[in-house]
Each structure stands twice: as C-alpha cells, then as structure tokens.
C-alpha cells in the first residue's frame, strides 16, 4: 500500500516541505511506499520579499520567480492545478484540471495569503501596495516620479504578511527621499490599527523612536474605513481623516476560500495546534506558513521552520511511529531601517524579540539571504 502525501501550495512552505520529504523519505519513495504530490496553481514558485524593492526600482518581479520544477526534487510529482474543494471526510480534493478527485492519506495545506482590498471601499481605486507583483509595479510608476506631497503608509490588514515590511517601507522611503534631497517637500505618515506602532510590543518600542527621529508622523488606533480616491482622503473607523497624495496600503488579508468551505477555519486560516501544526477540525491534515493560524507572524522564515516540523512528523507517521516533532514558534526577520542599514530579530513562543542595533552589515546579510533563498527553497540550506 502506498501512503499518499499531498501538499497544496508550492510557496515557501510547500516547496521546502516537498524537498524535505524527498530527502527524508527517499528510500520509501524509491520503494513505491510513499508518493508525494505538490499541487500549485501555476508553474512558478514566487518569492514575495523581492516586491519590497520593486517600487524603488531596485528589483524586478521576475527576480522573485523560478519554475517550481527547477527547485523541487525530481521524486516529487508537481501538478499545475488549482484545488477547488477539500473533502476531509472522504479525504479527497477537487481540482480545476483533474476529472476525478485526488485522494490523500496525509494532506498539508500551504495556500498562503491573498489580498482583500475590496473589504475597504475605495481602496482598490485609491490605494497602492507592494504586496503583489502588479501592485509593486503600479506603485513604482508613482513612487519614481513622486517629488512632493504627502505619502501615507497605512497598515489596514492585520494579520498581514511580513509584519516588519510596513516599517521597512517607511524607513526606506524616508532615507531614499533624503538622499535625493527631496525629503523637505515630502511628508510621510505611518498609520497602525492599535495603540502601538507594531503588533509586537518589543518591536513597537524599538521602532517608535526611529520613526520619530526621521520625522515620520505616527497615527495609531487608525483602522482605515474608506478611501475617497477623487479627493485623496483616507478616513478611519476612529473618525480621523488624512489627506494623501500617495496612499500605500497594507490591504486586508485572507487565506483562500476552500479552507473556510472545508470547515478548517475562518477567513482562510486553518485552525491548528500551534506546536504540532495539525488541523483542529479534521484528521490527517496539517497546515503551514501563512495558512496556519498559529499567532506567529506570516513570514517565510516561519513557513520554512514549520516545514521541518511537518516533514519529521510525516516521516514518523508513514513509518508507523508516534510523531513527536514540534514547532517552537521560531521566527527570524531582517528589518531594513533605510536603503543601506538593517536590524535583525529572532524570537519564539517563549522568548520575545529584541531588535539589534541597525548596521550596514545586517543590510548586506538581508540581501544575501534573499539571494540565497533559492538554495533554501531547494532544501539545501
């Protein structure tokens, strides 16, 4: 009998897991005892962190795309298809390309985040973002020719991908305009939904004085309610109105609909045990990365570490052993603090973050990490 492992999503989590399983279960796969399939709705693997640099003209979206087939071990079957339904009772999936359902013994959901700009009236027409390929290109059009006025960076969605990115973008724009002698004519405002400048108290405490030093206006308790694209006005649920010339938003996020339809969790996030990553509402289902509601940041590093945990657990399960590997909440994150300086944080469920002093060498480490990402996805580092 063959154990069928199916992974939905060939993003950071799915790709790292597929390669992890190919290595960990190589004998079983070769003997035909285990079959691993990776289903992704497109032929490419997309590395989203590149998008932060696109609006500044420093990177192209193509720098963040590679064919999955080049990255994934040949023993893994890759299918370019979109899963349209998960039936956790029958343990099978409907897809856009297969007439018959795909059965599984073990399912891993790694479907990531999607943007839900439509949840805020006027945002699609009036706002820009660097959280999608198209968005980062459209923002580049505006940003490269922006020489005066009010730039508002508004964090609307929470949770959102890469909690550090809105701060990074704010620090980078400040530095970029300063170096080009334009900062005097450009006002920058940073808005955040809660009373701090970041969800994490330690990072908020570290970031606030940096924002203040750089004359970035802070608006906390600001939950964008609507955007008036013609007038250039952003209004919050708390009743504050901001006039903007360029609105850069972190839009509301959702997971994909199939998760809620399958009863696995709300808004497309799978309810999981935060240590074992097993789905709470179904048997033999794991979730990882952005799709897993663990409470830790939606970050590639998280997806990467979680893939290691699930790889070990699945290997135990197919060998008939009790799985014991657990995810400890480990998150690492580089935080750009300008165009050529950065900080770094590392934390887990037990230990809070403590950002280290920004330096140029950490900035180079972040760029090097981004370059070496293709080795990470291959499972080599």
């Amino acid at each position: 009998m063959t154990d069928d492992i199916v992974i939905i999503g060939g993003g950071t989590g799915g790709a790292v897991l597929a390669n992890d399983l190919a290595e960990r279960l190589d004998d079983e796969i070769d003997a035909g005892e285990v079959r691993v399939r990776l289903l992704n709705d497109g032929p490419d693997h997309v590395y989203k962190p590149v998008w932060l640099y696109v609006p500044f003209g420093k990177r192209e979206p193509a720098d963040g795309r590679r064919p999955l087939r080049e990255l994934i071990d040949n023993r893994i079957e890759i299918e370019d298809t979109r899963v349209t339904e998960i039936d956790t009772d029958a343990k099978q999936l409907q897809t856009t390309t297969d007439a018959t359902p795909i059965g599984y013994d073990h399912l891993v959901v790694g479907t990531g985040s999607t943007l839900a700009s439509d949840e805020v009236p006027g945002l699609q027409e009036g706002g820009h973002d660097f959280y999608s390929e198209d968005g980062s290109l459209a923002l580049r059009e505006e940003l490269l020719s922006f020489t005066e006025g009010h730039l508002v960076l508004s964090v609307i969605g929470s949770p959102h991908m890469c909690p550090a990115a809105p701060l990074e973008f704010s620090f980078m724009t400040d530095d970029w305009f300063r170096k080009r002698g334009l900062r005097e004519d450009i006002e920058i405002t940073y808005t955040y939904p809660i009373q701090r400048v970041h969800g994490n108290a330690q990072i908020a405490e570290w970031a606030r004085p940096l924002l203040e030093e750089r004359d970035i206006t802070i608006e906390t308790f600001f939950n964008a309610e609507s955007v008036e694209p013609d007038e250039g006005v952003l209004t919050s649920m708390e009743g504050t109105e901001l006039d903007y010339d360029l609105l850069v938003a972190i839009p509301p996020h959702r997971g994909v609909d199939i998760i809620e339809d399958a009863g696995l969790g709300d808004r497309g996030w799978v309810d999981v045990d935060k240590h074992t990553l097993e789905a709470e509402h179904a048997e033999d289902v794991y979730a990882l990365g952005d799709a897993a509601a663990t409470g830790v940041p939606k970050a590639g590093s998280v997806a990467h570490y979680q893939a290691g945990t699930i790889g070990q657990r699945l290997a135990s399960e197919v060998r008939g052993q009790v799985p014991t590997a657990a995810y400890d909440g480990k998150t690492i994150c580089f935080i750009e603090t300008g165009m050529d300086s950065a900080s770094f944080v590392e934390f887990d469920y037990q230990n809070p973050p403590s950002p280290i002093a920004p330096s140029q060498s950490i900035h180079w480490s972040k760029l090097a990490y981004n370059e070496s990402y293709w080795l990470t996805a291959r499972g080599l580092i």
Binding site: E119, P193, I194, Q195, G199, G295
Partner: protein, 88 residues
Amino acid sequence: MEIKGVGVTMSTSIEPTTTVDARGATCPGPLMDLIGAIRDGESGDVVRLLSDAEQSRTDVPEWVEEAGNTLHEIEEHDDYTAFYVEKA
C-alpha cells in the same frame, strides 16, 4: 483595573449579535478580531469578545473609547474575560 461607567460582572443579560472567540490568541489578536467584527457589523450590533490575553483588559476599553463605540459590560470568567461592545 477600574473602568469608568462600565459594569464588571460575573454574568450579564445583554444579548450579543455576534460572538468573537479570541481565546488562545496573543496580542494584538483579540483586539484586531474585535475591530474586524465591528467593521463587518451594523450600527447597534453588540459584539461579545472572549479573550484570555491580559493586555485586552487595557487595549479593548482604550480602543472602544477612541472609536466612539460603547463598552457595556466586562464579564469575568475563571480563565477568560468577555467584553460587550456596541457599534456606534
């Protein structure tokens, strides 16, 4: 902590329109869940937020006041707190 004008009780008769169970979520999860429910609701709706995060006891009243909504009741349970918030 004492919050002016808000009843802190062991049980209440207020009928919530929706309940948001944010128990187990770390900060700012519960507050963001409440904000999401208020965003989706209609004026006059009462959201019942369940949270076991200590910080919610300060975060929630602060935000409710800032946003001009009404915090009707804080209900104490053994291992969590329920907040009854009416959308303005």
